[in-house]
Symmetry: C2
Amino acid sequence: MNYAPFLNYIKNFVDLNEKEITFLRSYTNYKKYFKGQYIVQQGEVCNHTNFIISGCTENFYIDQKGQEHIVTFAIENWWSSDISSFITQKPSDFNVKCLEDTEVIQFTCQNQDEIFKNIPKMETLFRKLLEKALVSSQKRIVNNFSLSAKDQYIYFKNQYPNIEQRVPQYMVASYLGITKEFLSKIKAHLVKNKS
Amino acid sequence: MNYAPFLNYIKNFVDLNEKEITFLRSYTNYKKYFKGQYIVQQGEVCNHTNFIISGCTENFYIDQKGQEHIVTFAIENWWSSDISSFITQKPSDFNVKCLEDTEVIQFTCQNQDEIFKNIPKMETLFRKLLEKALVSSQKRIVNNFSLSAKDQYIYFKNQYPNIEQRVPQYMVASYLGITKEFLSKIKAHLVKNKS
DNA sequence: TTGATTTGTTAATCTAGTTTATTTTTTAAA
DNA sequence: TTTAAAAAATAAACTAGATTAACAAATCAA
Protein backbone atom coordinates (compact mmCIF):
# COMPACT_ATOMS: atom_id res chain seq x y z
CA MET A 1 0.00 0.00 0.00
CA ASN A 2 1.49 3.20 -1.28
CA TYR A 3 -0.21 6.35 -0.01
CA ALA A 4 2.65 8.86 -0.19
CA PRO A 5 2.23 9.94 -3.85
CA PHE A 6 -1.30 11.03 -3.06
CA LEU A 7 -0.22 13.12 -0.06
CA ASN A 8 2.55 14.67 -2.14
CA TYR A 9 0.03 15.56 -4.79
CA ILE A 10 -2.29 17.19 -2.27
CA LYS A 11 0.60 19.14 -0.78
CA ASN A 12 0.81 21.05 -4.07
CA PHE A 13 -2.57 22.58 -3.34
CA VAL A 14 -3.29 22.60 0.42
CA ASP A 15 -1.50 22.00 3.69
CA LEU A 16 -3.00 19.31 5.88
CA ASN A 17 -2.00 18.69 9.50
CA GLU A 18 -1.42 15.22 10.98
CA LYS A 19 -4.95 14.91 12.24
CA GLU A 20 -6.42 15.79 8.86
CA ILE A 21 -4.12 13.35 7.10
CA THR A 22 -5.20 10.59 9.45
CA PHE A 23 -8.83 11.44 8.80
CA LEU A 24 -8.30 11.51 5.03
CA ARG A 25 -6.54 8.14 5.13
CA SER A 26 -9.33 6.54 7.08
CA TYR A 27 -11.97 7.86 4.67
CA THR A 28 -10.26 6.77 1.47
CA ASN A 29 -9.01 3.39 0.39
CA TYR A 30 -6.23 1.98 -1.63
CA LYS A 31 -6.86 -0.55 -4.37
CA LYS A 32 -4.81 -2.34 -6.96
CA TYR A 33 -6.19 -3.40 -10.34
CA PHE A 34 -4.48 -5.55 -12.95
CA LYS A 35 -4.06 -4.78 -16.63
CA GLY A 36 -7.34 -5.36 -18.43
CA GLN A 37 -9.55 -5.00 -15.34
CA TYR A 38 -12.47 -2.59 -15.33
CA ILE A 39 -12.71 0.04 -12.60
CA VAL A 40 -16.11 1.14 -13.92
CA GLN A 41 -18.38 -0.62 -16.39
CA GLN A 42 -20.91 0.97 -18.73
CA GLY A 43 -24.34 0.37 -17.17
CA GLU A 44 -23.09 0.18 -13.59
CA VAL A 45 -23.04 3.02 -11.09
CA CYS A 46 -19.62 4.61 -10.65
CA ASN A 47 -19.06 4.43 -6.90
CA HIS A 48 -15.61 5.97 -6.66
CA THR A 49 -13.49 8.85 -7.68
CA ASN A 50 -10.04 7.41 -8.30
CA PHE A 51 -6.69 9.07 -7.88
CA ILE A 52 -4.04 7.17 -9.82
CA ILE A 53 -0.88 6.30 -7.86
CA SER A 54 0.61 4.25 -10.69
CA GLY A 55 -0.56 2.80 -13.98
CA CYS A 56 -2.73 3.99 -16.82
CA THR A 57 -6.46 3.89 -17.56
CA GLU A 58 -8.73 4.63 -20.47
CA ASN A 59 -12.23 6.05 -20.16
CA PHE A 60 -14.27 4.91 -23.16
CA TYR A 61 -17.80 4.14 -24.29
CA ILE A 62 -19.43 2.09 -26.98
CA ASP A 63 -21.92 3.95 -29.15
CA GLN A 64 -25.11 2.79 -30.86
CA LYS A 65 -23.18 1.60 -33.88
CA GLY A 66 -20.97 -0.53 -31.64
CA GLN A 67 -17.99 1.73 -32.04
CA GLU A 68 -15.57 2.35 -29.19
CA HIS A 69 -14.57 5.93 -28.37
CA ILE A 70 -11.88 6.85 -25.89
CA VAL A 71 -12.87 9.98 -23.99
CA THR A 72 -9.81 10.33 -21.75
CA PHE A 73 -6.64 8.62 -20.70
CA ALA A 74 -5.33 8.94 -17.15
CA ILE A 75 -1.91 8.20 -15.70
CA GLU A 76 -0.07 8.78 -12.38
CA ASN A 77 -1.29 11.85 -10.48
CA TRP A 78 -4.47 12.12 -12.50
CA TRP A 79 -8.05 11.47 -11.56
CA SER A 80 -10.23 8.89 -13.21
CA SER A 81 -13.93 8.21 -12.84
CA ASP A 82 -17.24 8.81 -14.55
CA ILE A 83 -18.16 12.02 -12.83
CA SER A 84 -21.68 12.03 -14.25
CA SER A 85 -22.54 8.64 -12.78
CA PHE A 86 -20.68 9.45 -9.57
CA ILE A 87 -22.63 12.62 -8.81
CA THR A 88 -26.02 11.34 -9.91
CA GLN A 89 -25.45 7.76 -8.74
CA LYS A 90 -27.08 6.58 -11.96
CA PRO A 91 -25.69 3.94 -14.34
CA SER A 92 -22.56 5.00 -16.11
CA ASP A 93 -22.31 5.66 -19.85
CA PHE A 94 -18.59 4.90 -19.72
CA ASN A 95 -16.06 2.21 -18.98
CA VAL A 96 -12.87 2.83 -17.07
CA LYS A 97 -10.38 0.10 -17.94
CA CYS A 98 -6.79 -0.41 -16.84
CA LEU A 99 -4.26 -0.40 -19.67
CA GLU A 100 -1.53 -1.35 -17.18
CA ASP A 101 -1.51 -2.65 -13.62
CA THR A 102 -2.93 0.32 -11.77
CA GLU A 103 -2.92 1.45 -8.12
CA VAL A 104 -5.54 3.97 -7.05
CA ILE A 105 -6.80 5.86 -4.01
CA GLN A 106 -10.58 5.75 -3.94
CA PHE A 107 -13.18 8.19 -2.62
CA THR A 108 -16.72 6.96 -2.24
CA CYS A 109 -19.59 9.39 -2.59
CA GLN A 110 -20.49 9.31 1.11
CA ASN A 111 -16.91 9.50 2.29
CA GLN A 112 -16.18 12.39 0.00
CA ASP A 113 -19.00 14.36 1.61
CA GLU A 114 -17.67 13.48 5.06
CA ILE A 115 -14.22 14.60 4.05
CA PHE A 116 -15.55 17.92 2.73
CA LYS A 117 -17.52 18.45 5.94
CA ASN A 118 -14.52 17.76 8.16
CA ILE A 119 -11.77 19.26 6.01
CA PRO A 120 -13.22 22.20 4.06
CA LYS A 121 -9.82 22.72 2.46
CA MET A 122 -10.44 19.47 0.61
CA GLU A 123 -13.62 20.83 -0.88
CA THR A 124 -11.70 23.88 -2.02
CA LEU A 125 -9.15 21.55 -3.60
CA PHE A 126 -11.86 19.64 -5.44
CA ARG A 127 -13.51 22.85 -6.59
CA LYS A 128 -10.22 23.99 -8.06
CA LEU A 129 -9.62 20.62 -9.70
CA LEU A 130 -13.06 20.81 -11.26
CA GLU A 131 -12.34 24.30 -12.55
CA LYS A 132 -9.20 23.02 -14.24
CA ALA A 133 -10.95 19.97 -15.63
CA LEU A 134 -13.69 22.17 -17.07
CA VAL A 135 -11.14 24.44 -18.70
CA SER A 136 -9.36 21.54 -20.36
CA SER A 137 -12.64 20.00 -21.46
CA GLN A 138 -13.60 23.30 -23.08
CA LYS A 139 -10.17 23.53 -24.65
CA ARG A 140 -10.80 20.20 -26.30
CA ILE A 141 -14.08 21.44 -27.77
CA VAL A 142 -12.31 24.52 -29.06
CA ASN A 143 -9.55 22.45 -30.65
CA ASN A 144 -12.16 20.30 -32.27
CA PHE A 145 -13.65 23.43 -33.82
CA SER A 146 -10.46 25.00 -35.05
CA LEU A 147 -7.78 22.39 -35.63
CA SER A 148 -7.37 19.84 -38.40
CA ALA A 149 -6.89 16.22 -37.33
CA LYS A 150 -3.16 16.63 -37.91
CA ASP A 151 -2.91 19.66 -35.65
CA GLN A 152 -5.01 17.97 -33.00
CA TYR A 153 -2.59 15.07 -33.04
CA ILE A 154 0.38 17.45 -32.66
CA TYR A 155 -1.40 19.18 -29.79
CA PHE A 156 -2.08 15.84 -28.14
CA LYS A 157 1.58 14.84 -28.37
CA ASN A 158 2.70 18.10 -26.80
CA GLN A 159 0.11 18.07 -24.07
CA TYR A 160 0.48 14.39 -23.15
CA PRO A 161 4.03 13.48 -24.15
CA ASN A 162 4.03 10.47 -21.85
CA ILE A 163 0.93 8.76 -23.07
CA GLU A 164 1.70 8.03 -26.70
CA GLN A 165 4.46 5.56 -25.79
CA ARG A 166 2.24 3.73 -23.37
CA VAL A 167 -0.85 3.04 -25.46
CA PRO A 168 -1.35 1.55 -28.93
CA GLN A 169 -1.75 3.94 -31.81
CA TYR A 170 -5.32 2.97 -32.58
CA MET A 171 -6.27 4.21 -29.12
CA VAL A 172 -4.71 7.58 -29.81
CA ALA A 173 -6.77 7.69 -33.01
CA SER A 174 -9.89 6.85 -31.01
CA TYR A 175 -9.11 9.62 -28.52
CA LEU A 176 -8.67 12.09 -31.39
CA GLY A 177 -11.94 10.99 -32.94
CA ILE A 178 -10.38 9.77 -36.19
CA THR A 179 -9.80 6.34 -37.70
CA LYS A 180 -6.56 4.47 -37.13
CA GLU A 181 -5.96 4.46 -40.88
CA PHE A 182 -6.14 8.22 -41.04
CA LEU A 183 -3.80 8.65 -38.08
CA SER A 184 -1.37 6.33 -39.83
CA LYS A 185 -1.58 8.57 -42.90
CA ILE A 186 -1.01 11.68 -40.77
CA LYS A 187 2.07 10.16 -39.16
CA ALA A 188 3.50 9.08 -42.52
CA HIS A 189 2.95 12.60 -43.78
CA LEU A 190 4.60 14.15 -40.71
CA VAL A 191 7.65 11.91 -41.10
CA LYS A 192 7.97 12.75 -44.79
CA ASN A 193 7.73 16.49 -44.17
CA LYS A 194 9.78 16.44 -40.95
CA SER A 195 7.12 18.32 -38.96
CA MET B 1 -31.98 46.40 -9.62
CA ASN B 2 -33.43 42.95 -9.59
CA TYR B 3 -31.80 40.55 -7.15
CA ALA B 4 -34.66 38.15 -6.44
CA PRO B 5 -34.16 35.75 -9.38
CA PHE B 6 -30.66 35.06 -8.15
CA LEU B 7 -31.83 34.29 -4.61
CA ASN B 8 -34.54 32.04 -6.00
CA TYR B 9 -31.99 30.20 -8.04
CA ILE B 10 -29.72 29.68 -5.05
CA LYS B 11 -32.65 28.44 -2.99
CA ASN B 12 -32.80 25.41 -5.29
CA PHE B 13 -29.45 24.27 -3.96
CA VAL B 14 -28.80 25.71 -0.49
CA ASP B 15 -30.65 27.52 2.29
CA LEU B 16 -29.19 30.84 3.31
CA ASN B 17 -30.25 32.81 6.39
CA GLU B 18 -30.86 36.57 6.43
CA LYS B 19 -27.34 37.36 7.53
CA GLU B 20 -25.83 35.25 4.79
CA ILE B 21 -28.06 36.83 2.17
CA THR B 22 -27.03 40.28 3.31
CA PHE B 23 -23.39 39.25 3.11
CA LEU B 24 -23.85 37.76 -0.35
CA ARG B 25 -25.58 40.88 -1.60
CA SER B 26 -22.82 43.13 -0.34
CA TYR B 27 -20.15 41.00 -2.00
CA THR B 28 -21.78 40.77 -5.43
CA ASN B 29 -22.97 43.45 -7.77
CA TYR B 30 -25.73 43.97 -10.23
CA LYS B 31 -25.01 45.26 -13.71
CA LYS B 32 -27.00 45.91 -16.84
CA TYR B 33 -25.54 45.59 -20.33
CA PHE B 34 -27.17 46.56 -23.60
CA LYS B 35 -27.51 44.41 -26.70
CA GLY B 36 -24.20 44.26 -28.53
CA GLN B 37 -22.06 45.14 -25.49
CA TYR B 38 -19.15 42.95 -24.48
CA ILE B 39 -18.97 41.59 -20.93
CA VAL B 40 -15.56 40.08 -21.67
CA GLN B 41 -13.22 40.76 -24.58
CA GLN B 42 -10.65 38.40 -26.06
CA GLY B 43 -7.25 39.55 -24.80
CA GLU B 44 -8.59 41.12 -21.59
CA VAL B 45 -8.71 39.46 -18.19
CA CYS B 46 -12.15 38.15 -17.24
CA ASN B 47 -12.80 39.76 -13.87
CA HIS B 48 -16.26 38.41 -13.13
CA THR B 49 -18.37 35.34 -13.00
CA ASN B 50 -21.80 36.42 -14.19
CA PHE B 51 -25.16 35.03 -13.24
CA ILE B 52 -27.75 36.04 -15.82
CA ILE B 53 -30.95 37.58 -14.42
CA SER B 54 -32.37 38.37 -17.86
CA GLY B 55 -31.10 38.44 -21.42
CA CYS B 56 -28.88 36.26 -23.53
CA THR B 57 -25.13 36.08 -24.16
CA GLU B 58 -22.80 34.28 -26.52
CA ASN B 59 -19.31 33.12 -25.62
CA PHE B 60 -17.18 33.03 -28.76
CA TYR B 61 -13.64 33.32 -30.05
CA ILE B 62 -11.94 34.19 -33.30
CA ASP B 63 -9.40 31.65 -34.52
CA GLN B 64 -6.17 32.09 -36.49
CA LYS B 65 -8.05 32.02 -39.78
CA GLY B 66 -10.30 34.83 -38.57
CA GLN B 67 -13.27 32.56 -38.13
CA GLU B 68 -15.76 33.06 -35.31
CA HIS B 69 -16.78 30.06 -33.19
CA ILE B 70 -19.53 30.16 -30.59
CA VAL B 71 -18.60 28.01 -27.61
CA THR B 72 -21.71 28.55 -25.49
CA PHE B 73 -24.90 30.51 -25.25
CA ALA B 74 -26.30 31.57 -21.88
CA ILE B 75 -29.75 32.79 -20.88
CA GLU B 76 -31.67 33.53 -17.67
CA ASN B 77 -30.51 31.44 -14.69
CA TRP B 78 -27.29 30.40 -16.38
CA TRP B 79 -23.74 31.43 -15.69
CA SER B 80 -21.52 33.19 -18.15
CA SER B 81 -17.82 33.96 -18.00
CA ASP B 82 -14.48 32.77 -19.28
CA ILE B 83 -13.60 30.48 -16.44
CA SER B 84 -10.04 29.92 -17.67
CA SER B 85 -9.20 33.60 -17.60
CA PHE B 86 -11.14 34.09 -14.36
CA ILE B 87 -9.24 31.46 -12.40
CA THR B 88 -5.80 32.24 -13.82
CA GLN B 89 -6.37 35.99 -14.13
CA LYS B 90 -4.68 35.85 -17.52
CA PRO B 91 -5.98 37.38 -20.77
CA SER B 92 -9.09 35.69 -22.07
CA ASP B 93 -9.25 33.67 -25.27
CA PHE B 94 -12.95 34.37 -25.53
CA ASN B 95 -15.51 37.14 -25.92
CA VAL B 96 -18.73 37.27 -24.00
CA LYS B 97 -21.18 39.45 -25.90
CA CYS B 98 -24.79 40.31 -25.16
CA LEU B 99 -27.28 39.21 -27.81
CA GLU B 100 -30.05 41.03 -25.97
CA ASP B 101 -30.15 43.62 -23.17
CA THR B 102 -28.78 41.58 -20.29
CA GLU B 103 -28.89 41.95 -16.50
CA VAL B 104 -26.31 40.06 -14.46
CA ILE B 105 -25.12 39.49 -10.91
CA GLN B 106 -21.35 39.63 -10.81
CA PHE B 107 -18.79 37.91 -8.60
CA THR B 108 -15.24 39.19 -8.65
CA CYS B 109 -12.38 36.82 -7.97
CA GLN B 110 -11.56 38.31 -4.56
CA ASN B 111 -15.16 38.59 -3.48
CA GLN B 112 -15.85 35.02 -4.51
CA ASP B 113 -13.10 33.83 -2.21
CA GLU B 114 -14.49 35.97 0.60
CA ILE B 115 -17.93 34.53 0.03
CA PHE B 116 -16.59 30.97 0.11
CA LYS B 117 -14.68 31.72 3.32
CA ASN B 118 -17.73 33.19 5.05
CA ILE B 119 -20.43 30.96 3.57
CA PRO B 120 -18.97 27.50 2.94
CA LYS B 121 -22.33 26.39 1.58
CA MET B 122 -21.66 28.70 -1.35
CA GLU B 123 -18.44 26.88 -2.14
CA THR B 124 -20.35 23.61 -2.06
CA LEU B 125 -22.86 25.15 -4.47
CA PHE B 126 -20.11 26.22 -6.85
CA ARG B 127 -18.44 22.82 -6.64
CA LYS B 128 -21.70 21.20 -7.64
CA LEU B 129 -22.26 23.67 -10.45
CA LEU B 130 -18.78 22.93 -11.75
CA GLU B 131 -19.49 19.21 -11.63
CA LYS B 132 -22.60 19.73 -13.74
CA ALA B 133 -20.80 22.03 -16.15
CA LEU B 134 -18.04 19.46 -16.60
CA VAL B 135 -20.56 16.72 -17.27
CA SER B 136 -22.28 18.75 -19.95
CA SER B 137 -18.99 19.76 -21.50
CA GLN B 138 -17.98 16.10 -21.68
CA LYS B 139 -21.36 15.27 -23.13
CA ARG B 140 -20.68 17.70 -25.91
CA ILE B 141 -17.37 16.01 -26.71
CA VAL B 142 -19.12 12.66 -26.76
CA ASN B 143 -21.84 13.94 -29.09
CA ASN B 144 -19.16 15.30 -31.35
CA PHE B 145 -17.68 11.83 -31.54
CA SER B 146 -20.85 9.89 -32.14
CA LEU B 147 -23.50 12.06 -33.73
CA SER B 148 -23.83 13.35 -37.28
CA ALA B 149 -24.31 17.09 -37.68
CA LYS B 150 -28.03 16.48 -38.16
CA ASP B 151 -28.33 14.56 -34.91
CA GLN B 152 -26.29 17.14 -33.06
CA TYR B 153 -28.70 19.79 -34.27
CA ILE B 154 -31.68 17.73 -33.08
CA TYR B 155 -29.95 17.23 -29.71
CA PHE B 156 -29.31 20.97 -29.46
CA LYS B 157 -32.95 21.77 -30.14
CA ASN B 158 -34.13 19.37 -27.46
CA GLN B 159 -31.60 20.47 -24.88
CA TYR B 160 -31.97 24.20 -25.46
CA PRO B 161 -35.51 24.65 -26.81
CA ASN B 162 -35.56 28.32 -25.84
CA ILE B 163 -32.42 29.44 -27.53
CA GLU B 164 -33.10 28.72 -31.19
CA GLN B 165 -35.85 31.33 -31.39
CA ARG B 166 -33.68 33.96 -29.78
CA VAL B 167 -30.55 33.79 -31.90
CA PRO B 168 -29.97 33.84 -35.66
CA GLN B 169 -29.51 30.51 -37.38
CA TYR B 170 -25.93 31.16 -38.39
CA MET B 171 -25.06 31.34 -34.71
CA VAL B 172 -26.60 27.94 -34.09
CA ALA B 173 -24.47 26.63 -36.94
CA SER B 174 -21.40 28.19 -35.36
CA TYR B 175 -22.25 26.59 -32.01
CA LEU B 176 -22.62 23.22 -33.72
CA GLY B 177 -19.31 23.66 -35.50
CA ILE B 178 -20.79 23.51 -38.99
CA THR B 179 -21.33 26.10 -41.73
CA LYS B 180 -24.58 28.04 -41.99
CA GLU B 181 -25.04 26.61 -45.48
CA PHE B 182 -24.91 23.07 -44.18
CA LEU B 183 -27.32 23.79 -41.33
CA SER B 184 -29.68 25.27 -43.89
CA LYS B 185 -29.39 22.02 -45.89
CA ILE B 186 -30.05 19.95 -42.75
CA LYS B 187 -33.16 21.97 -41.91
CA ALA B 188 -34.48 21.69 -45.45
CA HIS B 189 -33.93 17.96 -45.26
CA LEU B 190 -35.68 17.69 -41.88
CA VAL B 191 -38.70 19.60 -43.18
CA LYS B 192 -38.92 17.40 -46.28
CA ASN B 193 -38.70 14.17 -44.29
CA LYS B 194 -40.88 15.40 -41.40
CA SER B 195 -38.28 14.45 -38.73
C1' DT C 1 9.84 -21.45 -33.42
C1' DT C 2 5.61 -21.52 -34.83
C1' DG C 3 1.18 -20.21 -35.41
C1' DA C 4 -2.31 -16.94 -33.78
C1' DT C 5 -3.71 -12.59 -32.37
C1' DT C 6 -3.02 -7.77 -32.07
C1' DT C 7 -1.29 -3.64 -34.17
C1' DG C 8 0.05 -0.79 -38.05
C1' DT C 9 0.41 0.51 -43.22
C1' DT C 10 -1.07 1.52 -47.89
C1' DA C 11 -4.19 2.53 -51.41
C1' DA C 12 -8.68 2.93 -53.87
C1' DT C 13 -13.19 4.53 -53.39
C1' DC C 14 -16.71 7.07 -51.04
C1' DT C 15 -19.26 10.74 -48.27
C1' DA C 16 -20.31 14.27 -44.85
C1' DG C 17 -19.56 18.63 -44.64
C1' DT C 18 -16.97 22.99 -46.85
C1' DT C 19 -16.36 26.64 -50.16
C1' DT C 20 -17.81 29.82 -53.30
C1' DA C 21 -21.21 32.21 -55.60
C1' DT C 22 -25.88 33.77 -56.54
C1' DT C 23 -30.59 34.60 -55.23
C1' DT C 24 -34.33 35.28 -51.98
C1' DT C 25 -36.27 36.64 -47.66
C1' DT C 26 -36.38 39.14 -43.38
C1' DT C 27 -35.24 42.94 -40.48
C1' DA C 28 -34.65 47.44 -39.29
C1' DA C 29 -33.52 52.18 -40.10
C1' DA C 30 -34.92 56.60 -42.24
C1' DT D 1 -43.26 53.09 -46.93
C1' DT D 2 -39.05 52.69 -49.00
C1' DT D 3 -34.60 51.15 -48.98
C1' DA D 4 -30.35 49.20 -47.38
C1' DA D 5 -28.42 45.77 -44.74
C1' DA D 6 -28.52 41.36 -42.50
C1' DA D 7 -29.94 36.66 -42.64
C1' DA D 8 -31.32 32.51 -45.00
C1' DA D 9 -31.72 29.36 -48.98
C1' DT D 10 -29.96 26.93 -53.03
C1' DA D 11 -26.69 24.70 -55.81
C1' DA D 12 -22.23 23.22 -57.93
C1' DA D 13 -17.53 22.08 -57.20
C1' DC D 14 -14.38 20.59 -53.79
C1' DT D 15 -11.80 18.36 -49.64
C1' DA D 16 -10.85 16.27 -45.13
C1' DG D 17 -11.49 12.30 -43.33
C1' DA D 18 -14.16 7.53 -43.49
C1' DT D 19 -14.62 2.97 -45.32
C1' DT D 20 -13.09 -1.15 -47.22
C1' DA D 21 -9.83 -4.40 -48.15
C1' DA D 22 -5.42 -6.53 -48.47
C1' DC D 23 -1.16 -7.01 -46.46
C1' DA D 24 2.95 -6.44 -43.20
C1' DA D 25 4.96 -6.23 -38.59
C1' DA D 26 5.07 -6.99 -34.00
C1' DT D 27 3.74 -9.44 -29.87
C1' DC D 28 2.55 -13.36 -27.42
C1' DA D 29 1.25 -18.00 -26.03
C1' DA D 30 2.64 -22.72 -25.94
